[in-house]
């Protein structure tokens, strides 16, 4: 998925301008001429220059690359579902791990992802992998390395 450099350049310039505006609002220390906003402004300035360069380059090569070029793999629906699944797996963990606990959340995420990547034919082995891996990680990190992973529903059991 290659977006034309000109579009990327515009996004980068917009972000840089936003950063410069935010950086101007930082309170300066009295008596020191260089406040906390100076350095971010310089860096955002550099980034903006890079953005202009990308616009220039993108327009020059527009005829060869077009506005958006998709690699073969990026044309399939499957790719987007995979990316969506990864996104929602992480989001699901963020939202529910506290209540469900690490082990159960991780099992669900893993099982779903494995089912998707390996197909329905290997349902049983996917299930076994997700359960053993989740439990192993939970036990190693909680008991051995003392990371307080959320226990959730299984608090008392494990």
């Amino acid at each position: 998925m290659r977006i034309n450099d000109a579009i990327l350049g515009i996004i980068i310039i917009a972000v840089s301008i936003f950063i410069i505006i935010v950086a101007r609002s930082f309170p300066a220390l009295p008596g020191v001429p260089y406040g906390p906003g100076v350095f971010p402004t310089i860096i955002a300035g550099c980034m903006m220059l890079g953005g202009f360069f990308l616009i220039f380059k993108g327009i020059r090569h527009l005829r060869e690359t077009g506005w958006l070029a998709l690699d073969p793999w990026a044309k399939t629906l499957r790719t987007y579902i995979t990316l969506g699944l990864i996104f929602f797996a992480l989001l699901f963990y963020i939202l529910f791990s506290e209540d469900l606990g690490f082990a159960i959340t991780s099992m669900l995420i893993l099982f779903l992802l494995l089912l998707w990547t390996r197909g329905r034919k290997r349902l049983i082995s996917s299930l076994i992998i997700s359960v053993t891996f989740s439990l192993a990680i939970y036990l190693v990190f909680v008991k051995f390395m003392r990371v307080p992973l959320p226990g959730g529903l299984m608090q008392g059991i494990l």
Binding site: F26, L54, T65, W73, I86, L110, M145
Partner: protein, 512 residues
């Protein structure tokens, strides 16, 4: 001398030796897995290092990276998919040897050369780092500022074919490092009133997101595209005839590690660069350059010794100046800070045995590499059977645990979600992500030195060139910044004189 004995004493405890053995296995496995680069491997190792003593943590990272760099050659030779980026330079060559039925010979050569290169790099590291540290004690903000600029500049130029995108990547990294409280004025920056952003974006979770989650996305969207079945070795003797070949190309075995060490010692450039350059140099100086890419071992000798030497050498600027040599050592610096150790010349005075213990670890790692590497070659067929589509979801869960464990908060998982997808989109559009991580780790150093220098010099820019070393570093850096522009002007001038019109046209068509 006394420090060396203390360091040996530190390392040779059963606990640390056990850590080293485990890290060996981990490094070999992750390095051999296409999709888990050495950087991702070290990033995944970080949560484990929290629970190790500083010397054990450093030893495990040094060992894992040294072995991963070799192990990357295995799928490079057998599948033509380099396991780590630094094996990419000679994966085609090694694969050509495999197709001739010389797979285990190629791996045997690459193993022995990796060991020799690694040991030479370790020697270079142990001798040059203390000397350089003495020299670096004189450095002030100006020198540090320029060194950091130089490292970032190198990173932008080395990673990827478009320096502008590298530069933008660095700026994003620098800006991410500014989130949270400013350490000079104490004012919160870019927090937008969100409480959990006040303490900043933790470097380690950013790194796990950018490298590991980004890689999971990249790998899973391409499942089933490459060849899955390894050709496999024919089961012959791995080291048969290795000695003779190495002796034949002994000068490559000298040149490769020297190039590797120099490139590694440059802040910002690491082992993949070293391998490419050494391979090209070997071809240039070869008596039979026409044999390259047809399964000729000469380039493998040069490049595989070079990338292992470079792996050690990247630790030189990292320990001495606190400016990472590549993305792996950027992580190492992050871990050092977590352990309350600030890298820099002062470490050699305050914590000399610990620094020397890194050198000892590298020697041990490169010696263990020989038997462990041999074992890995023998079981490579089984090892390469672990499919990406199983491995990647497991890596994702490991990323969650790792980012959570940094300060036991869900904030880390938020960070890997956001940065992981950002990294995926960036890489798809040709933005290298290693500069982002270097920018993030160097952000604080760069800003602090810049601000202090500005305040000390009362805003006089010329003060940045006031001291001889600072002036040299500064002028070199600025020259590199403008080098593409100068090149462009020269090309234009030549074009006007009409001599090389065709040549420059060829060049532009290559770039697009």
């Amino acid at each position: 001398m006394e420090n060396i004995f203390l360091a040996i004493k530190l390392i040779f405890t059963w606990k640390i030796l056990l850590v080293i053995i485990c890290s060996c296995a981990f490094g070999l496995f992750t390095g051999a897995m296409p999709g888990i680069s050495a950087t991702v491997a070290i990033a995944l190792l970080v949560p484990v290092t929290f629970y190790l003593s500083p010397e054990a943590a450093l030893a495990s990272m040094a060992t894992a990276v040294a072995l991963a760099i070799f192990a990357g050659d295995i799928p490079g030779a057998l599948l033509r998919i380099p396991g780590v980026p630094s094996s990419a330079a000679y994966a085609d060559e090694a694969y050509a040897m495999t197709q001739k039925g010389l797979g285990e010979k190629a791996l045997g050569i690459s193993l022995v050369c990796s060991v020799i290169g690694g040991l030479m790099g370790a020697i270079a590291l142990s001798f040059s780092a203390p000397l350089l540290a003495e020299f670096a004690l004189e450095f002030q903000y100006y020198e540090y500022f320029w060194l950091a600029c130089m490292g970032l500049t190198t990173a932008a130029f080395v990673c990827g074919d478009q320096p502008v995108k590298g530069m933008i990547s660095i700026c994003i990294g620098l800006l991410l490092s500014m989130v949270g409280f400013d350490m000079i004025s104490g004012a919160p920056r870019f927090t937008f009133g969100i409480l959990s952003l006040m303490e900043g974006i933790h470097f380690i979770s950013a790194l796990i997101g950018v490298f590991a989650v980004g890689e999971v996305c990249r790998n899973l969207t391409r499942v089933g595209k490459g060849p899955v079945v390894a050709i496999g070795t024919s089961g012959g003797h791995v080291f048969k005839g290795t000695g003779r070949i190495i002796w034949k190309y002994k000068w490559n075995l000298v040149r490769g590690p020297i190039i590797g060490t120099i490139i590694g010692a440059l802040p910002g450039a690491g082992s993949d660069m070293a391998a490419w350059v050494s391979y090209a140099v070997a071809k240039k100086f070869s008596k039979e350059p026409e044999k390259f890419l047809t399964g000729h071992p000469e380039g493998i000798v040069a490049a595989s010794s070079s990338n292992n030497a470079s792996t050690c050498a990247t630790w030189i600027p990292s320990i001495v100046f606190g400016i990472p040599g590549d993305s792996v050592t950027a992580i190492v610096i992050g871990v050092l800070f977590l352990k309350g150790l600030e890298p820099g010349p002062a470490v050699f005075l305050e914590n000399a045995p610990l620094v020397y213990s890194i050198f000892v670890s590298f020697f041990i790692a490169n010696i263990i590499l020989l038997p462990m590497g041999l074992l890995a070659i023998k079981i490579s067929k089984q090892m390469l059977r672990v499919p990406t589509e199983v491995l990647m979801p497991l890596v994702l869960v490991f990323c969650i645990v790792g980012s959570f464990a940094i300060n036991n908060s869900i904030m880390g998982v938020n960070v890997i979600l956001a940065l992981g997808f950002m990294s995926f989109l960036m890489q798809e559009n040709g933005f290298p992500v290693a500069p982002l991580i270097l920018g993030m780790i160097m952000g604080e150093l760069l800003e602090e030195n810049f601000m202090q220098a500005m305040i000390a010099a009362d805003g006089n820019i010329l003060a940045f060139f006031g001291r001889p070393i600072a002036a040299t570093l500064g002028l070199t850096t600025i020259l590199v910044w403008f080098s593409p522009l100068i090149g462009l002007v020269i090309a234009k001038l030549r074009q006007r004189s009409g001599r090389t019109v065709e040549l420059s046209q060829n060049k532009t068509s290559c770039k697009t």
